[in-house]
């Protein structure tokens, strides 16, 4: 039985389990938060103690306050902000390009068996090559400027979006497809009212993976071939043996990753609010 089931004698469900009182739920939430923080705090404390006691060589980890200092430095002089902006812009452009192309191709492949049979073998073969493996060739063809980043980042998003979108389109239950024919839907209506909404979960899986890939690829690309952005910041720090800089940039990368993860979850939940059970 689910919280959403009702029969004619009651009203529509609100999906919330009213059995556990609110106070207990809040307490449970705090407890979970506390437990989750224990290990990170212990690690932090160990780091701090080791540094204070002079037991921590600089090459392994700089003291926490040094990292903090560097962090406030690069925040203060705007380096962090501009690096983040550059990196985010690249990801946004690359992902948008790759995802859009992926949605279009994925939908087309999902709808047309002929197209699928033609394109699949080549596509699958090309997707076996790691994205970064294409870099040397792409560098030779377009140089090291923004075009390189967009192409490589876009490609890393393109692949999962195509695969998941085409799968989602193919998996539309036949019952709904027939419904569309029975209701004499035009092909466009069928696409927008039946096929695409049904494929949303898969499409989102693809977009998630594509965005994660984009972010990963961005950092790698910036490490290899860039003069600005978070990845460059890390490479720069490494060259100058400034571990604080590397760590500060890593923290920024982690936080942004968390933010992206959260936003995508929100979007997905919103788009699927008609479901009785929310995914994960």
């Amino acid at each position: 039985m689910g919280a959403g089931r009702i029969n004619a004698s009651r009203g529509p469900a609100d999906g919330v389990d009213r059995a556990i009182p609110a106070r207990r739920r809040l307490a449970a939430a705090w407890w979970t938060l506390a437990l989750g923080l224990i290990v990170p705090l212990i690690l932090l404390a160990t780091w701090l103690a080791a540094a204070l006691l002079g037991q921590l060589p600089e090459q392994i980890l700089p003291p926490p306050w040094a990292v903090f200092d560097t962090l406030s430095d690069i925040i203060g002089d705007g380096t962090l902000a501009s690096s983040i902006a550059t990196s985010l812009q690249r990801v946004a452009e690359g992902f948008a390009a790759g995802a859009l192309a992926g949605l279009v191709l994925g939908t087309a492949i999902g709808l047309s068996k002929a197209l699928r049979e033609t394109v699949d073998p080549l596509f699958l073969a090309m997707s076996q090559v790691p994205t970064l493996g294409w870099m040397p060739i792409v560098i030779l063809l377009v140089g090291i400027d923004e075009g390189l980043k967009i192409i490589v980042i876009g490609w890393s998003a393109f692949i999962p979006v195509v695969l998941n979108t085409s799968q989602g389109v193919r998996d539309v239950p036949q019952a709904y497809v027939e419904l569309g024919r029975v209701l004499s839907f035009s092909p466009w209506s069928r696409l927008t009212t039946i096929i695409l909404p049904s494929a949303v979960p898969s499409i989102f899986t693809g977009l998630r993976e594509g965005l994660a890939n984009s972010w990963q690829t961005l950092v790698a690309v910036e490490l290899i071939a860039s003069f600005e952005g978070l990845g460059y910041l890390m490479a720069y720090g490494r060259q100058l043996f400034q571990l604080e800089l590397v760590l500060a940039a890593m923290i920024a990368v982690g936080l942004i990753g968390l933010l992206i993860h959260g936003l995508l979850t929100l979007a997905e939940t919103h788009l699927q609010r008609w479901r009785p059970e929310m995914p994960r």
């Binding site: 290990v39 049979e117 073998p121 030779l140 490494r238």
Partner: protein, 274 residues
């Protein structure tokens, strides 16, 4: 059942019509080869007719010639083996660590509460962000690369193992309680076989991921023999034929890994209904 289904016909199927032309069958068999063949033909044409600078697009024969040369006198094979070696070592370490931790977290709600958030944050840090740090700790040599590759394999292995254990149906746990199975017996008889498919999926992912990372790491940390190093060389010397050859090798290894992993999965999980 009031429904007659036409499974697998796809969303644009128009139901049954009076029989279509038989011409379609031949075309369908040729279709998978159509696009690659057309592209290869275009490539050859462009290269020979001089539409494109020969440096950007060497003709097919040049790539083949390069391959022969490398096999005969060059050390491309050695580079490939070096890459594969560190890839597999890293994969072994990372994959096992992931399975181990995944089992622990899957079985122990406490461990999940303690480590869950930390691992979530760790997941958000782009893998390659670790490269500068790792290279500072271990140097840019073998150890550093292997640690990095292990890190890459760790992630998917952990997640999938964890999910595999978590997905064991409640009814199985209750069964274990009813049969008064000890912790170890439960793991051996019920939990691990139940989670095995997902664990394999995780290892499969880890294998692919490790290979991707190997290539990337070698492109970045350009020391010692390896495919990445040769690719950097190809890029700097503008040897497109070498680069194209390397792409083929990369893809080939990827395909091989997928086939092997997929085959193993199928063999070992034969008890599952197809």
């Amino acid at each position: 059942m009031s429904l007659i289904t036409f499974a697998g016909r796809g969303p644009l199927s128009r139901g049954t019509r009076r029989s279509a032309l038989p011409l379609g069958t031949i075309g369908r068999h040729l279709r998978p080869f159509a696009l690659p063949a057309a592209l290869l033909a275009a490539w050859e044409l462009a290269a020979h007719a001089g539409f494109v600078d020969a440096r950007f697009l060497p003709p097919l024969e040049a790539v083949l010639a390069r391959a022969v040369a490398e096999i005969g006198h060059g050390d491309l094979a050695a580079n490939l083996l070096a890459s594969l070696q560190r890839d597999l070592i890293g994969f072994a370490f990372g994959g096992t660590a992931g399975i181990f931790l995944g089992l622990v977290i899957g079985f122990s709600p406490l461990a999940q509460r303690l480590l869950g958030p930390l691992l979530l944050v760790h997941r958000q840090i782009a893998l390659f962000a670790w490269v500068p740090l790792i290279s500072m700790w271990f140097g840019g040599g073998e150890t550093g690369k292997i640690v990095f590759i292990a890190l890459a394999a760790f992630q998917p292995s952990l997640i999938n193992t964890w999910q595999g254990v978590a997905a064991i149906p409640r009814s199985y746990r209750e069964l274990a309680a009813v049969l008064t199975l000890g912790w170890l017996d439960f793991a051996r008889l019920i939990a691990i076989p139940g989670a095995l498919p997902q664990i394999f999926t995780g290892l499969h992912s880890a294998l692919i991921y490790a290979w991707t990372t190997t290539v990337g790491a070698e492109l970045l940390l350009n020391i010692a023999p390896g495919l990445g190093g040769r690719m950097n060389e190809g890029q700097h010397l503008f040897h497109m034929d070498l680069l194209l050859l390397c792409i083929l090798l990369l893809g080939g290894v990827g395909v091989a890994f997928n086939i092997i992993a997929g085959g193993l999965e199928r063999r070992l999980l034969r008890w599952r209904t197809p």
